[in-house]
């Protein structure tokens, strides 16, 4: 198994794609797309990260076992975020008040509440 040498042409193309992505994500952030702003920002960030991992870090040309390790990082991070957030977005206290409103200092400590 001989080593794969990635040509500078590919590196230049990836560099241009990353710069284009940065330009797009900044201009998108300055426009109001409502809830879609987050989705656009994270989609572009993930695309950029993917390009770096696949080409700059040679994951595309790596042995399968290395690729498996890369996937593990993504999987464990996704698990961490998904499990924790599924708790936070669905938490309601005994009065039916949603977290974090239920934790609000001025609501919980007011004599009239």
């Amino acid at each position: 198994m001989s080593e794969h040498v990635v040509s500078p042409k590919i590196y230049v193309v990836i560099l241009l794609a990353l710069l284009l992505g940065t330009y797009l994500t900044v201009s998108a952030a300055l426009r109001d797309f409502g809830p879609w702003n987050i989705v656009i920002a994270l989609t572009i960030a993930t695309t950029k990260a993917l390009l770096v991992v696949l080409f700059f870090m040679h994951a595309k040309y790596s042995p399968k076992r290395t690729q498996l390790v890369v996937m593990c990082a993504v999987f464990w991070l996704a698990l961490l975020l998904f499990m924790t957030m599924s708790d936070y977005v669905s938490r309601v206290d005994y009065r039916g008040v949603r977290y974090p409103v239920s934790q609000n200092f001025f609501l919980t400590h007011s004599p009239h509440s």
Binding site: I14, L18, T25, V26, K48, S62, V69, L77, L81, F106
Partner: protein
């Protein structure tokens, strides 16, 4: 340990040795992903809980400096990738050149980061006793654009309405508390990232010195590849930090 040239005794070929080293580096990077992951999780939870306050915090960052830093870091990743290519194709003069360019771009990034941190200290946006969201509005300096200050004032005024209850003064206290959470995470995450950059710069200085001695060849260039993996990982962390800290809920000034 028995060693022939660059080949350690437990390996049969340099290729096999490089494969193992690369795999080991990736496993280390997985632990790094989870190390930063804890901070990203804390960020996500608090962004969810205090969405508006985090938006106010984000709008107090300098987008131009942040975007410039993103471009600088992407450029440094490119020169790092080119270093790997130069090593693999035995270009003995280009290799230290690309590595030095990477180091310089890394230092430019840290320099810009310093300017940003200095700004936050001047604006009283560092979590702690003297944290004050309205400091900059109340103490404008001649260099501040009135349009930007007006934008900040309106931003805070609107955000106060979303804090749950109380008098306007109490709401401002709550907003200050929640925005401090944002800035704690801002300094924690960008600070940890900057620490990784400094370590990366140290590693680069080491491979530059070794490359000047002519140690790296087409047959043996494992350290370049490994330092490259580390450098690109730090780049990826910044790509996400930039999107999460600077871009979400941004208001055009």
């Amino acid at each position: 340990m028995h060693r022939t040239g660059e080949l350690y005794g437990q390996f049969e070929t340099l290729e096999q040795q490089k494969d193992s080293a690369t795999l080991g580096m990736w496993i280390f990077l997985v632990t790094e992903v989870l190390f930063f992951g804890g901070l990203f999780l804390t960020y996500t939870v608090n962004r969810h809980l205090y969405f508006t306050a985090f938006g106010v915090g984000g709008n107090m960052l300098d987008l131009k400096l942040g975007a410039t830093n993103t471009v600088v870091l992407i450029a440094s990743s490119f020169t790092m990738a080119m270093s790997v290519w130069a090593a693999q194709t035995d270009r003995k003069k280009l290799l230290p050149l690309f590595l030095t360019l990477t180091l310089i771009l890394g230092c430019v990034f840290l320099g810009i980061k310093y300017v940003e941190y200095k700004q936050k200290f001047d604006h009283h946006l560092v979590p702690g006793h003297s944290f004050d969201l309205t400091y900059r509005i109340n103490h404008p300096t001649p260099g501040d654009s009135p349009k930007e200050l007006e934008g900040e004032r309106k931003e805070i005024e609107d955000a106060i309405q979303t804090e749950a209850a109380g008098t306007p003064q109490e709401r401002l206290v709550a907003l200050n508390a929640h925005t401090q959470l944002y800035f704690s995470l801002y300094f924690g995450m960008t600070g940890l990232h900057a620490l990784h950059m400094i370590i990366g710069a140290g590693l680069l200085i080491w491979v530059i010195r070794e490359s000047l001695k002519g140690r790296f060849t087409a047959a043996y260039n494992t350290p370049i590849e490994i330092v490259g993996l580390y450098w690109h990982f730090v780049d990826i962390v910044w790509i996400y930090l930039f999107a999460l800290l600077y871009l979400i809920n941004r208001h055009a000034v």
